[in-house]
Symmetry: none
Subunit: 420 residues, 2 copies
């Protein structure tokens, strides 16, 4: 992100440090900053403690031009943001009579008298711009000191968003110049994180040397890998062109392992392939317990191509509902490729759809054997003319095995559709 402005975000409030709260304000703040081409270097949550907050403010301003603080502007003793920032910059605090009057009116409109402690909220570091708060009592503050721009925003999301998306955005845009961030999210299936990296590292390592440079981040999920490409440029067209070239190179390297190049999730990609063909699918699930179908139907409009699904947990259900013969179950066991194929064929024929998918496995933690340990899962696709079947050995917990199985089943369907 060489050349552009960099920013730090400080969320202030002891409640944000408990095990049950998470800071979401910084997501919106990041979005606005990124839109302006300002990279977020770090974001920190700090409690209502003067020394800790002061140390964080000093750390942030020593390294970055932009500092956005959120929270700690309330009227009580533990609201310290105004004082700490003013002290760090060596600015005195003055009471702003216009703020006092606006707050008094706000209280009066509800038939209340303003408590005396609210006067704290009218304290303004000398030279600061006061940012109006249509949704609450605490005004925001904007300070510029040399290369630094500092915004103090209230913690309630509605109040913060109105200011960050309005006044602060406008004030920052004046400093940020014309550089903007552009990003692409590529989704990959069928390979682990390190395998993907081995393949794409020779490609993306070149991108850092070109102009504009592209930064790459690899992220592993359950059965999927994400590749994030980010570039920054004053010229949106050349940035987009650079990203387009980069994506083409990755396509060349990864081929059909690439699920999408615009962030589209696997189940939506598969849904679109089915919709293009006017095809219907039906699932016969055992160890996934309905998860594969549930994921397919997370996509709006999936009733256009998902006809039905049967969760056949018991052998009896596999026989009654899918026509899997008891002899086959006895010979190969419920977790076997022949049974997965029979489940796929059974659901396809009985539902009268184009493609049937069969999933059978051992999610654990019990039920494993030496030959078929926990995590053994067979997935079959039956499209009438062609069938395909695979056996997996997934690591991890019951939940992981379910997630990985559903993911691979949907990805096998994607690959089947790409070939057909």
């Amino acid at each position: 992100m060489a050349g552009g402005l960099t920013a730090a975000i400080l969320a202030v409030g002891s409640e944000l440090l408990t095990a049950h709260k998470t800071d979401t304000n910084s997501l919106y703040i990041s979005e606005v900053l990124n839109d302006l081409g300002i990279a977020v270097a770090f974001k920190t949550i700090v409690g209502d403690r003067r020394d800790e907050l002061a140390a964080q403010v000093a750390h942030a301003l020593a390294r970055h031009e932009v500092l956005i603080l959120c929270g700690g502007l309330g009227p009580t003793d533990d609201d310290l943001t105004r004082e700490v920032v003013a002290a760090h910059l060596g600015l005195p605090l003055d009471e702003d009579p216009a703020i006092v009057e606006a707050m008094e009116q706000r209280f009066a409109a509800r038939g209340w008298k303003m408590p005396a402690i609210n006067r704290r909220q009218a304290q303004v570091p000398r030279g600061a711009v006061v940012l109006g708060n249509p949704h609450g009592t605490a005004p925001g503050l904007w300070l510029e000191r040399g290369a630094h721009a500092i915004a103090l925003l209230p913690g309630p999301p509605r109040e913060m968003k109105a200011m960050m998306g309005g006044d602060v955005r406008r004030l920052l845009a004046g400093r940020a110049g014309s550089v903007r961030l552009r990003r692409r999210l590529l989704r990959i299936a069928g390979k682990g994180e390190s395998m993907v990296d081995e393949l794409v590292a020779p490609v993306y390592s070149q991108w850092l040397k070109q102009s504009p440079p592209i930064e790459t981040t690899i992220l592993a999920g359950l059965g999927q890998v994400e590749l994030h490409l980010v570039t920054q440029s004053a010229d949106a067209a050349s940035a987009d062109a650079a990203l387009h070239r980069a994506v083409s190179e990755i396509e060349g390297v990864l081929g059909p392992d690439l699920i999408s190049t615009d962030g589209t999730v696997l189940e939506a990609v598969v849904g679109e392939l089915l919709r293009q063909r006017g095809w219907w699918v039906a699932f016969a699930e055992s160890c996934t317990g309905g998860l594969a179908t549930s994921r397919m139907t997370d996509v709006a409009g999936s009733s256009d191509y998902v006809e039905r699904s049967i969760v056949a947990y018991s052998n009896r259900a596999k026989t009654e509902l899918l026509g899997v013969s008891p002899a086959l179950l006895a010979e190969h066991g419920a977790v076997s490729e022949p049974v997965a194929l029979a489940m796929a064929a059974g659901i396809r024929q009985r539902a009268g759809v184009n493609i049937g998918i069969g999933i059978t496995g051992i999610a654990g933690p019990g039920g494993g054997t030496e030959q078929k340990p926990v995590g053994t899962v067979c997935v079959a696709i039956d499209g009438g003319e062609a069938t395909t079947v695979r056996t997996f050995r997934f690591p991890g917990s019951r939940d992981m095995v379910k997630q990985m199985s559903a993911n691979w089943a949907i990805d096998m369907l994607r690959r089947y559709l790409l070939k057909g």
Copy 2:
């Protein structure tokens, strides 16, 4: 927490700084630290940049005894945590042959050869304790230097939790004092957050005045509310007794809306009720697309009471597989109480189980009408002798409607079982 150890948490990963990701690992880490009486002073998210990460490590260790880092232990070039921490402490990195061997075996078990870059994950700062990772390739690391204790944990939540809750907790306990947090987690269904608060506030407001005081946090989820009770004492017995009394008071106020008082999840509570009776259930799902069954089968051993499930997305499937008459569908529409009841009865009879559950609704975003807007969902329980049916109007996105529907269906089953 005066006098006790203080800690900083650093989550490492550029993807965590984007506008669409949030760090949740720090919540679990905070919980473990708080349990041990270690206060969290701040938590920071920093990208995969050497200079920023190094500055954060220096800042944290200059102020606090405990530093927990999470992420950046992967095999790729942008995984910098090991190197940065080792450099800060002036420790050389040595390759640990035991780690290399364990990783090679892990790859071999899946029929793959370990890519060369994974050797990076075997680099260990001299003197560090290696923490085993049953769920992934990256081992964790534990370093003690004078007053400082530093843990390096992998980013994937499953891997992090196993280490933080196991080895790191044990190692930290040796350094922390004898004050411990005790907590109880109560799960509540059928009421919103503010309704629960209105009922229980008169009760829990008294707890702050007693000794040891109990702090209460209310958290809203999709269709559920969590009540966290926390107390802190060097005397575990009196803390537990105080929590026990508090839970009894809440039971008196909330009655059957209380799912569990020990954190047990809804689907496990329902599973236990079914197991006690030796009963079987089967689901007939439409708008939830298999999600209710998938959630029921998240519990190990659920094959003892979940017999089968049918996802009947189309009207044809509702008729063929569940015996819902076309006349009924035409008269009332697919999303109606009569159809939900017919689905429940159909699956119960055809599966030959004790209880059938029918779920039909409009998950959206399309498909709503003025009379039956998006979010309209009918759930029916048929136990043969008695039936129950309800119509809901859920707010929110498709995913939220699915989640709320599955949750309410399973909770209706719980209430049905409590009565029977």
